[in-house]
């Protein structure tokens, strides 16, 4: 392949092809492949789902069915930071809803929404297992506990 053509190849596509090759013929590959594809693309575009279906020899309707069943999978682009507000039982009884309200106001989005500047995607989750620190939230992999509405703005400001 000439150098010019090389530039035309999308590195993400190459990665996806590698993932698909690695799982070829393996049982139960669909969910891990979707997880890896989402890591590569940040979400699961329709074309990627079609390619995964072809690659794993699974009807695309089933790929779509699985992708829409699990909460982890996103079919639309996500913000740079994923903010997960916990509304588990412990957080619920310790004022999680008020924290959520504040975050919604700060960001101007609701559950599942992404801010216009693409900085945050807001998700409500059932429990992140940090109940001792309720109310809690998670930004990317970082857990924030013992939240109160007035602490929210300061934490959000730390994220570009």
């Amino acid at each position: 392949m000439c150098e010019l053509c090389q530039d035309l190849i999308d590195p993400k596509e190459t990665k996806l092809a590698e993932v698909l090759a690695g799982y070829a013929g393996r049982k139960g590959a669909l969910i891990p492949v979707l997880q890896k594809a989402q890591e590569i693309y940040g979400y699961l575009p329709a074309d990627v789902l079609r390619r995964i279906g072809r690659g794993l020899k699974i009807p695309v309707a089933r790929v779509y069915g699985v992708a829409t069943f699990y909460a982890q999978f996103r079919l639309t682009p996500m913000g740079q930071n994923v903010l997960r507000v916990c509304l588990g039982t412990a957080c619920h009884v310790r004022g999680g809803a008020k924290v959520l309200e504040t975050i919604e106001q700060e960001l101007g989005v609701k559950d599942g929404g992404t801010t216009e500047d693409q900085r945050f995607t807001l998700e409500i989750v059932a429990c992140i297992g940090a109940c001792g620190l309720a109310p809690t939230m998670m930004i990317n992999d970082q857990v924030y506990g013992r939240l109160a509405p007035d602490k929210v703005a300061g934490i959000l400001a730390q994220y570009e």
Partner: protein, 653 residues
């Protein structure tokens, strides 16, 4: 002779153990070795390393333990270790003091938690600026840093060691024994605590049927919800014909308000692997899967490390400990669906399908993963197993009640002073757990109810606080042990709102396969929302009860069959709250905002205007001469005025 750097190194050239040339005594050799030869030098090396790992009373070295579980890590405990390492070096203590990252202590509320071994000094809410003081005062000076000690909120007394903090004093930690004490990322720490001894014993001294018999005798029941006898389950899977069998560990801990599995996975991952290995040997399986929530990245990381280490020393792989037994474990990250806690849905998910439950029978023990006989237990169940084989079934059956043996971990949360993980013998009363261990209700409020067992469980009132907590008693009372969430509710919690909360959860998590769960939970939720909004109708309670009965008796899987429990239990014990919402349009707990009215008490009002200034919808009018008034038609009942008023002049009714 070369000295051993870690416990895993061979003591001398006479040790031949590798995964390819396994030695049957490898595990026992870790703590009692060398066994194949007699050499005082080799023995001394092993003992030296063991002492370092255990830092027991009388040992020369001190260890500073930092909790790095999710709770404490979120409060910055990993950074604290770096600072401590630097401070120790600065003070020239690096020969006699070591630091150790550990798993969760279960007292996340008080994190970051730091423990000094062997003295067992227990420091809570430690900040970076406290580290030099700990070094100077405690490690060098041998004195406790008083202001970092945990003070019991009820007695006002400081606990000198973790063992005498009331939170821990009444607990009996079997499964959580290593959590918070060993480094979960080092298999040698686990070996030092007699790790894998139970597995080696089962593998080498017992036939598979004897292993199953031992588990049956221990009385262990599944810790994931329904409490099915574990030995019986293993036996069914062993009896199923099949050339290939699987072991699954359900680590999809999805109950909102439960995090014991997370703590065990993060704090003592090898105990889960050991339990799975014993089960695999008993059943005749050679492959195991751990299905772990993707929301638990740290747990997945530590499991990956633990599996790799077990493979490197030959405890996973082929011909384990020269026994001919082969076993491998793989991790599957869940993708976010609560229903995958149901075993047939979990299996569908591992197979790469939508996590929709299948009709049983056939049970997974007959036809499970890829149609092969499969045994599925949850994290806590598996991590109980090594202890049964280390200490014997009789020892284990010595804990608990007649039909519920051993201990159970509860996640004590909500409106209680001490929140965290609590491991107690089965049969302890709710009162002891909430008031003795939990230290009573937060802020001196009045206890109203305790929610047990998550979305499948129920709420129990004060009159049932003396019930012993075991599988059968709780079911009779309309709740269940479930995964072990214990959420304490006080007088400010509305019980209709709690029922609505759980229904909202199960309704969202319904897979949609069967009609009663998909459509029925939706209609139940709509009714509950209506009631909490003050739009309830007289016949709503009857409709709720009818729907609850049908959803319970006709749904396909456990999720639907138990989804109505929070509604039924609150209707049973707190029916008057439903009636107050429907008939009087009042929320007795003053929690349902649609049913609240805010007014300003003219006598108490000092006309400062703070309420009007902060009102988000500007519905408060008044000035220095006119009394402040809230326009009820515009008020959104956010309660800001009440929070801001310094004179208690805003009244909520």
């Amino acid at each position: 002779m070369k000295t051993m750097k870690t416990l895993l190194d061979p003591c001398c050239g006479r040790c031949t153990h590798t995964p390819e040339t396994p030695c049957r005594d490898y595990v026992r050799c870790q703590t009692e070795g060398p066994l194949c030869h007699d050499d005082p030098a080799c023995r001394m090396e092993r003992e030296r390393l063991l002492r370092e790992l255990k830092t027991e009373v009388g040992s020369q070295k001190q260890a500073v333990l930092f909790c790095t579980g999710t709770g404490c890590a979120s409060s910055g405990s990993n950074k604290l270790i770096e600072i401590m390492d630097a401070e120790i070096k600065k003070a020239g203590l690096d020969v006699s003091v070591s630091t150790r990252p550990t798993g969760c202590h279960g007292f996340c509320e008080q994190g970051p938690i730091v423990i000094i071994e062997p003295a067992k000094t227990f420091y809570t809410r430690v900040k970076a600026e406290d580290i030099p003081e700990i070094v100077a005062k405690d490690l060098v000076g041998g004195e406790r840093v008083e202001h970092l000690l945990y003070v019991d909120p009820t007695t006002g007394q400081a606990a000198t060691t973790y063992a005498n903090a009331p939170f821990y004093a009444k607990q009996h930690r079997i499964v959580l024994h290593n959590c918070g004490h060993i480094n979960p990322e080092r298999i040698e720490d686990y070996f030092a605590q007699d790790g894998y001894r139970g597995f080696a014993h089962a593998l080498q001294d017992m036939k598979p049927d004897e292993v199953i018999e031992e588990v049956k005798r221990s009385g262990l029941r599944g810790r994931g919800g329904a409490g099915f006898p574990t030995g019986l389950k293993w036996g069914l899977c062993r009896q199923s014909a099949g050339d290939k069998k699987y072991i699954i560990c359900n680590a999809d801990e999805g109950d909102p308000g439960a995090f014991m599995d997370r703590s065990v996975l993060e704090g003592d991952p090898h105990s889960v692997l050991e339990g799975m290995m014993i089960a695999a040997y008993a059943i005749g399986a050679d492959e195991g899967y751990i299905y772990c929530r993707a929301e638990y990245p740290l747990a997945i990381k530590r499991l990956e490390i633990a599996i790799k280490q077990a493979e490197e020393v030959g405890l996973l792989g082929d011909n384990i400990l020269a026994s001919g037994f082969n076993f491998r474990i793989y991790i599957k990250a869940g993708a976010g669906a609560f229903v995958c806690g149901e075993e047939t849905a979990l299996i569908a998910s591992i197979e790469g399908k939508r996590g929709m439950p299948k009709v049983r029978p056939p049970f997974p023990a007959q036809q499970g993963l890829w149609g092969k006989p499969t045994n599925n237990n949850n994290v806590e169940t598996y991590s109980n197993v090594p202890h049964i084989f280390r200490h014997g079934a009789d020892w284990y059956a010595g804990f608990g009640t007649e039909k519920s043996k051993g201990t159970k971990i509860f996640a004590l949360t909500g409106k209680v002073n001490n929140t965290g993980l609590v491991e107690v013998p089965m049969g302890m009363s709710l009162r002891e757990i909430i008031f003795d261990i939990g230290g009573g209700i937060l802020g001196g409020k009045k206890f109203k109810a305790v929610q047990i067992g998550g979305p499948s469980g129920g709420c129990l009132p004060e009159s049932l606080l003396d019930l012993p907590v075991d599988y059968d008693t709780l079911v009779q009372a309309g709740a269940m042990v479930g995964s072990g969430g214990l959420v304490v509710l006080d007088e400010t919690t509305c019980m209709v709102d709690i029922a609505r909360y759980f229904l909202n959860f199960t309704q969202k998590e319904s897979c949609g396969k069967c009609t009663p769960c998909r459509e029925g939970t939706k209609r139940m939720l709509e009714i509950l929302v209506r009631i909490t909004n003050g739009e309830g109708k007289e016949e709503d309670i009857e409709t709720l009860e009818k729907l609850a009965g049908v959803v319970k008796s006709t749904s396909l899987c456990g999720l639907g069959q138990t989804a109505p429990n929070p509604v039924l239990a609150t209707l049973k014990y707190f029916r008057h709250e439903y009636e107050a919402h429907i008939r009087d349009k009042q929320c007795p707990a003053h929690a349902c905002s649609a049913l609240l009215t805010y007014t300003i008490d003219e006598e108490k009002c000092k006309k400062c205007g703070l309420c009007a200034k902060n009102c988000p919808v500007k519905c408060i009018t008044g000035d220095k001469n006119t009394p402040y008034r809230i326009d009820a038609s515009a008020c959104i009942k956010c309660g800001t005025c009440m929070e801001k008023c310094k004179f208690g002049a805003v009244v909520r009714a």
